[in-house]
Amino acid sequence: MQDTQDNIKLFGNLITVSGIFCLAVALLLLINYWHIRQTKPLETEALKSLVQQFQADPESEALKKDIRSLDLLARKAFFTSQWQIKAGALLLLFGAIAFATCLRIYHTMKARILEPLIDGVDSKVTRMLSQRWILITGGLLLGSALVVSFLTTDYLKIYEETGTVVQAPAEPAVKVAVVDKDEKTGRQKTEDGGQEDGKTVVGDAGALVIPAKAGTSPLSSAGVLVTPAKAGAPSLNTDFRNNHPSFRGPWGQGISYHTGIPVDWDGPTEKNIKWKVALTKKGNNSPVIWSDKLFIAGADNESEVVYCFNRLDGKLLWEQDAKDIPGSPAVPPKVTADTGLSAPSVTTDGQQVYAIFATGDILALDMEGKRIWAKSLGVPDNHYGHSSSLICWKDKVIIQFDTNKGGRLLALNSLTGEISWDTPRKAKISWSSPIMAEIDGKLQIITTSSPTVAGYDFDSGAQLWAIDCLSGEVGPSAAFADGLVYAANEYARLAAIKPGPTPVIVWESDEYLPEAASLAVSNGLLFIATSYGMFACYDSKTGKKQWEKEYGQGFYGSPMIAEGKVYVMDRSGAMHIFKVDRTLTSLGDPILGEKSVVTPAFADGAIYLKGEKSLFGIETIRQQKK
């Protein structure tokens, strides 16, 4: 008996000891776990700064050595703690087994006959209680499921439904709201569809006769030269060359024909900043210039506005709202801040300016800001916001309208807003802008999207060629030079395409791919700016990389070529200027002092930049004195 008592005591103590042991180990493990969660050995400041230094000086052996040893230390620490966890778990397991075994023995030894339970519980009461609680719990469960089901948002359905909303007004039979028809004093429609006023004439072929920029002095107010463009001769005419009529310049090709562009300025100290005006509404669109007028757009939840500035002094000449448009949504669609409600750049043919917004509202204003027509194309089903810029030529305004509901390319009559043609495209949603080019004597509109890069006949809208080579969410627009079309997108590839009835990819690469910035080609060289800060130059004929340069900031704005230089602005607002050359020759990195995601516009002797908050007119003093 005494023996049993002793044993009971012994096992009782063993239980306590093993129990405390288990608890202690568990606690240590817990602390270890917390510790690991808190520390990130590879994200220490020391390592980060070493890596940063290393990036600046990639050849330094000493830095390599330091990084290696720090890295090794971190790994050692990590694996030691792993080992600790393993060992701790094993200890805990053995402790638990000891605990359980002692417990069992202790209980067996202590076992005595317990006083039997008297049936004190009234089974009737229990049964009633059970019924009640089962029903209550079940009811509560079903009830809360119902409540939750009413509280959950069915995003898929919203997606489908907004899709339907988009589809309805997107039919071709959209009403055109021609505003101020009667007020168009001094501007009457001629029978052949042309317009006449004191300054502009529309020829019978629809070719616009437009005010050309005058003189070489960038500061002189442009006189109005009437330069008729011959019908049927699609070559980029001098009026367009002498202006910056759309996103990425004439025909959207990423090339400006202006000269004397400044390469040196400084936003914060206002060096060479001729003028600077604060923007009132957000808009990630790029400035567009005709003669002395500079156009931008902006929008917020209240209104969508087109602004016209005098590019010589930065004075606001006029602003015009896009209001009272039938079919325009009461509430603007949900867009991301990155894109905004006014991402597409406006376009102008020197006679009118055209603007489109994320609401699908499109309007045409004359150069004085008077509305000529406006219509709604239906809210584009676009989860970031519609961002494809407009382009115009002759009598047409071209809209690349690729939404989640499918792709379309539309041409509206620039005088009436009526649809000239509407070509459905085999394309998923895209954010790129159409460009124009003359290929084999035919004027074509070239678009990029997922998966297709395609060319369309400007006059009929017929698809002339197409090749599937992109994927993902396509933002960069194409470039064209020397008979080759260039297209690229992040996660897809960069391809040089020989267009034609059976287009072929001449070369391709996937080393550096842009996410938003379009391509620019000049002089046998192609330039790419990626959203992660890489700027690279390729041989446009062979695809051989010529040089590359990395920046801490990514590029959203597109590179532009002017005067044998390539201008590209990173998101911090620093412009990087290089010589268009096979070797890397940097010509400066002037800064704006504000973040920027847009593409510059040019005029002779001047560059126009748009930051997050302001619009800048930049000229070099030398140019001013001219």
Binding site: K40, P41, S123, Q131, I134, T153, T336
Partner: protein, 418 residues
């Protein structure tokens, strides 16, 4: 590009072990070294022969448990088998595959014709059910590694009021329904994901899993087998099957002498006491209630299926594709979040949002069907559980409840009858 492919390949793994994100990962060095990365190797699956060793072991354990419980009436025999199962199925086989989780394989095999269930998984599912149909829950008694670890750590079990026990007994059916729904829609194997003891058996895994296991075991010191009683979805099926068992463990070998000695034996309160005269229900009112329940059950099922169908939207949000599609629709700005690996991988795949939404819609449709069936099932369970409370079976002896008894054999030693 290469990295993207690797990320793409890793995504399913990441999704499955998203809790592991918290652990450290070491990126490749920042610069070139002479070190060549070894090609990763995939561990060989357990050989077919070995799989059948597992099945054989299970068969032997089940047979021995039945023999110990019914013929031999030996608690020690069952205890030994329990220890063996904890070691073999638990620590050695790492708790995988277990019969509890096999429910999901079966559900998926039914729902997805492309999924071929292995014979191994099927046998692990069927054997315990077949045995329970004949001998009661002998699987729970000694073969189940989850039950074993809990059984071995019962310290001072407390009594839980009967109404509470019965009410909580609803959870396993809910868990079962959800597990089948999620498995059949190809969403996830939630039983495996939230298995509290796997982490302990493997001595590895997401920390939360391990702490959950420890919490269950600590709770189990006082509330005997908490997971078995109030969560286990396989137990819910075994419970039903076992009620039909012809030869079930009996507390007394030949005859109950009403000594009441076994009343304190069962830590799970699975011994039914004889009915006292005074608690005998009034037949008339009981019949009325019975008819009421008979009418109520279809109503509950209808309500359940309606609510179920309404709930399919939020239930389906657990599916990775639906989740991703909704995330992209509701927060398009996340596209630029380079840290969101799900979204980045999706973007890298070149798939359009439209396709993703279409796929998500297909899954959601499946959820619609699944959820209303689940709702109807739960309505039925609620009704039957409540109705069960008015069904009166005459009982004169102290006897193990065939549904709830785990055949652990504890009570056998208490009965003085030879």
């Amino acid at each position: 590009m290469k990295w993207l492919k690797i990320i793409l390949f890793l995504l399913p793994l990441l999704l499955a072990f998203s809790d592991l994100e918290a652990q450290q990962r070491f990126p490749k060095p920042e610069f070139h070294t002479k070190y060549t990365q070894p090609t990763p190797t995939t561990p060989e699956p357990r050989g077919v022969g070995m799989e059948f060793v597992d099945v054989l072991v299970l068969l032997v354990v089940l047979s021995l448990t039945s023999w110990f419980a019914i013929k031999k009436r030996s608690r020690n025999g069952i205890l030994l088998l329990t220890v063996f199962s904890a070691i073999y199925f638990g620590f050695y086989r790492n708790g995988c595959i277990c019969s509890v989780g096999s429910v999901q394989n079966v559900a998926l095999a039914f729902a997805d014709p492309k999924y071929v269930i292995s014979l191994y998984a099927l046998l692990f599912f069927l054997l315990p059910l077949i045995f329970s149909l004949f001998f009661g829950r002998v699987f729970c008694g000694a073969a189940c590694p989850l039950g074993a670890i809990q059984d071995l750590l019962i310290y001072k079990p407390i009594t839980i009021p009967a109404w509470l026990r019965k009410t909580l007994g609803f959870i396993p059916y809910l868990y079962l329904g959800l597990a089948v729904l999620y498995a059949a829609t190809g969403t996830e194997f939630i039983i495996c994901r939230y298995d509290p003891f796997i982490g302990i058996y493997r001595m590895n895994g997401p920390h939360l899993m391990i702490y959950l296991g420890i919490a269950f075991l600590l709770m189990g010191l006082f509330i005997a087998r908490p997971y078995c009683r109030f969560f286990c979805p396989f137990g819910a099926i075994l419970n039903v099957f076992s009620r039909f068992s012809r030869r079930h463990l009996s507390v007394f070998p030949t005859k109950c002498i009403q000594c009441k000695l076994c009343t304190t034996a069962c830590p799970f309160e699975a011994i039914d006491f004889p009915d006292e005269e005074k608690t005998k229900p009034d037949t008339k009112s009981n019949t009325r209630r019975f008819i009421l329940y008979m009418a109520l059950i279809p109503v509950l099922m209808l309500a359940g299926s309606w609510i179920g169908s309404k709930s399919h939207v939020f239930l389906s949000k657990a599916h990775p594709d639906v989740y991703l599609a909704e995330l992209l629709i509701s927060h398009p700005e996340l596209k630029t979040d380079s840290k969101n690996i799900d979204i980045q991988t999706f973007l890298a795949s070149g798939k359009s949002l439209e396709t993703l939404v279409a796929e998500a819609q297909v899954i959601r449709d499946k959820f619609y069907t699944g959820s209303w069936i689940l709702g109807a099932f739960l309505g039925l369970v609620i009704g039957l559980m409540a109705m069960n409370q008015i069904i009166f079976r005459r009982r004169e002896d102290y006897q193990a409840n065939k549904g709830n008894c785990y055949s652990c054999g504890r009570c056998l030693d208490y009965c003085p009858v030879e």
